[in-house]
Symmetry: C6
Subunit: 257 residues, 6 copies
């Protein structure tokens, strides 16, 4: 498998490496599709750590993380959840959208995010001491958490933090080209469109246009769909349902393609 | 089985084909009964893909999509849910009304809608790599989602999008005739009724009159029920309970039939 | 068993017969006790269809409609729910108060109310093709649904509709006489009371006095209870708890008896 | 066992007997402790019907009424609930505080409260035809239901109704004497206290002082507790927690004893 | 075991004894820590009744009170809950904080708190007639129930009532001395502190300082902690988190010690 | 294992020791990361008590504390929960964030926090008398409980209390140095940053910067990350998501490093 492509924006690699050296848990904040997950995959490769990912949602409970007894072939067997597996094997555990998970899930992570570094499986009575290479990273999108669930301070202050945003234009264009093989000029035009819409706060988009959407648009163009239609399909439609906002985003696309 | 009848309105077929070539998930937005489901069935036939459909509701959970252990003949057997089946067999998976589903169901789709294209079955510990021909389409009705559940941006931005609305009058009349065998003139009259009511926003109908309702009215007429009574039964009553709105729609029907 | 007594008010029988010929699902709207259920029983007899009824409530789920596995005599057996039974046997399925049911129950009906006419039992993995004579009718009371649950447009537009209200006075009196053997004069007096209270919207009754209540009052009179006391017991008390409204309804009764 | 002591206030016995002759379900409305339950026990004796009582609460479900499978001695056995038992045995079924029960419980009663008189046990697939002597009575307290759950009109209109209130003074005093053996003068004084507090609507008591409380006070007096202290204990304290209202009720007691 | 120490404040012992003679259920109202539970333990000793206590909370259900089937050593065995045990054995049943329990739990108590004195175990189908010496007492704190759950009148009016508050100063000081062996002067100082804070309604304490807290403070003093620090620890801190109120209570303590 | 490092701030050790001598439960109040847990670990060592910790969350129920039956190797075995274990073994039981737990969990602790010192396991019918050395400590953060769950007075008044806040600057700097080996000057600078941000109430931070975060920052500095970047990562990011507050905290960091 070829290595994950990642372009450094600031000093995020260095911060992560020092967190790894001191085994401090890392909380990565930033908007949807800005590269948080890709960065974690990149760091796992660089540090030669196996990566175990959990995507949280409003129903994620401690059981989902720690494990459960399953009735298999008429026998009850304990199946480790992703957190227990990561703790045992010494993996990099990545908790995507941690603020979404239910409180019992989040509290179950407390003892592995402080100096105890141990995990208590209350269903089996087992206490796991984390393997030496075990580390925790978590992601969190502050912008749409504001009106929903908040991470409690007693959880937040167990992590050191990093804020991500979109890369500078030149870097983002290089990512788009690298991922899709599209020519540099079209890549730059796509990034221009993104930058423009991201600055138009009066559009009230749910979330800014992500790098991921630029990559999707480029893929459609490369596959032969006309550029403007590709932009409408991959950039405008996923960003908003509001007819006025939709028209505005389409206009920006038509202007640059 | 005869092929699904579908009349192209814009470039939707071409967009879908390029999404298929690049394996990007497609989100189809539009009002009830405008032909979203029919379009997906048409594309499945055209691309020669088996079609697996899931109709979501407020109780749809990850278990409903992924599968469950069932106790059959005193033996516990794993039964694939529709998503697991589609991933294994390489089908076109169609998630109807995706915004209705519970958050754990939606998040369970994340890993098959990005470049991982894999599905994790947490109950069996199995990770399925999607078959080469696997593709995802989803539908969504923005107009009555506005005040209810919203798709989160982190889900939306995994899809490329298409907006559907009702076909132009001439095309819609051809659909009605083709489906029911009714004469062209009556078909056009029915479409006129629909167009008229759709434009009367002061009626505050829950949803515009759909093509489906015109087809139902035509069926009743063909079966021998008088045209006006058919219109009242199949167009007016399903659209509203409000006595004033009901009277207004009936008047429009009586004017054209 | 003697046939269900039903007096036609408008063209409801003809509409239902054409819906049956075209196999379109029928939604019958109207207030409590106006004869919706009786009409459906009448049509089942006329069309010689077995009738299977489901009375919905806020807890009615898909499982209640489709069926469940039961542990009987230490064996797990699948028991068809009423909808599955109707689909297999080709019955007239009557879903009473459909708007009350939970969303998963309503969505489970979608595939049997469009041209697929098939039912998917997710617990057994079975897909049932509806028997040729299978048909769906549903009832719905718009007046007290207004502030509670609403049928979603994507459900409503799968049905053709009929609005019921109370029959004209002469007809209603004939129903009361036929059901109870009461003399025509008293029957007409009872109907007068009902008509009068139905028109007094300032009483703010929860629901208009139904034909059912007139029948109950007539039964009590025939059994020997004095007419006024019968009216108070069977008409006034079930209609309201408000002391002023109660007094007003009693006064109307005393005036006519 | 000696017969239930019941003093008729109006024509309630006659109304109930005619409802029984016509097998119409009876809904008895009235405040706490005014004798609704005692009246039903009296009627059961008079009509020589076995009495089966269900006291409803916010958690009462259809399962509680119809029955359930229980695992006993390693065997699964069906245990009839109180409603199924009453239907099979032909008892008088008394549903105390029906408005409290959950909607699925209330709807499960629909088919035994109309002319079908049958009960469907969905867990066993059995349909029970009610025994010839089966009858339903229910009670309901409109005064504190007003702001809580309401009986739906489609349920209410299945019953004929009777409104209960407290008996006239002389009758109520006879009840108190008969139940406790207290002398007539003290009984009348207790009733005076009740009448006085019931008329003081400015006290904002949760519910009026019931006959039951007068009986309790008389019991304490007969057992040797001083009359005023008995009144404070059995009449004032159970009626209110508000210090001012408590003082007012105590003052009324001290004035009459 | 030495007898429970209880000092009578008013006529509570006599009232309870007459309630016992007439087998009327007793509801004891009063603030936290004023001696309700101790009084019940005292009465149980005096009347030579075994005492069975249930502490209710928002999750207390009928099952918790009546009992449940448990799977023990592969056998299903019925285990009586505390109420069933008390009914069978003829104990004094004490329901602490009855208003907290869930409605199904409270309603399950109805038949043992009226003249039926029987308990229906719906899970076993058994009806228990209460043993001759069975009696019910319950406690309830009106001051913080006001904004939360209320006992329904239909429950309250099954009990005779008693209001408790804190004992007069001299008596309370004797309780504190007796429980801890502290000298009379310090005991009186502690009671002075309590009386003072209880009268300062502007402090907005959640609940007045209880006798229990004075006993705790005395214990710390006797064990050697300085009096003021003991007061701060056992009286001020448990009563409030508000910095201003905390300072005010501390000042009162420092003034008297 | 080396002993827990703890620096006394006031008389907390003495208060805890006297609470231990009199076996009174202790409630420790204070902000996140101020050393409550460390203090309890220190006291457990000093008093030579085994320490059993429960971290509560919104889903913590009585079952989580008391224990449960588990099906292991086809046998049902009772597994003690942490509270039952502590009661049996005579450990120091530490209930972290007690106010978060569900009410049934909190009430289950009542009988071990008063003079009964016994625990009732309702699932096994067992009553455990606490071992002689058993003691309870609990923690609670009043500042963010204010708008959420409150401990009920009937629970609070079972504890004696202690308020914790951050240690004085010199002491806090010694803690930071001791934990990380950082030089005294940088440690003092870090504490200065904390003191400064804690006093800026206009920043509206969720919680003040904790000692824990200073330790994290020192660890990153010692591991080689530049001091300012370490402060941004370990102090600014975990404390707030607000861009303005973030900038303000960063500025304070840059000023002192």
């Amino acid at each position: 498998m070829e290595p994950v492509y990642y372009l450094e924006v600031g000093k995020e690699t260095s911060v992560f490496e020092h967190a790894w050296k001191t085994r401090l848990p890392v909380l990565i904040k930033g908007p949807t599709g800005c590269g948080k997950t890709r960065f974690v995959r990149h760091m796992a490769e660089k540090l030669e750590l196996p990566l175990i990912t959990v995507s949280c949602n409003e129903d994620t409970s401690a059981t989902d993380l720690l494990g459960r007894h399953l009735l298999l072939d008429r026998e009850t067997r304990w199946i480790d959840g992703p957190v227990a597996r990561a703790v045992r094997e010494g993996a990099l555990l990545y908790i995507d959208e941690i603020a979404e998970a239910r409180p019992d899930a989040i509290v179950a992570l407390h003892s592995i995010t402080d100096d105890r570094r141990e995990l208590f499986l209350d269903r089996t009575g087992e206490t796991l001491q984390a393997a030496e290479r075990f580390m925790v990273a978590a992601s969190y999108n502050p912008s749409y958490q504001r009106s929903m669930r908040e991470l409690k301070p007693s959880t937040r202050q167990r992590f050191v933090g990093m804020s991500f945003s979109f890369p500078p234009e030149e870097l983002e264009a290089r990512v788009v080209s690298h991922e899709t093989g599209i020519d540099g000029k079209t890549a730059r035009a796509l990034v221009k469109i993104a930058t423009k819409t991201r600055s138009l706060t009066e559009l009230a988009l749910l979330e800014p246009v992500s790098t991921r959407l630029l990559v999707d648009a480029a893929k459609l163009i490369v596959s032969g769909l006309p550029p403007r239609l590709s932009g409408h399909t991959a950039i405008a439609e996923p960003t908003t349902d509001d007819p006025d906002a939709l028209a505005a985003v389409r206009q920006i696309i038509d202007l640059h393609m």
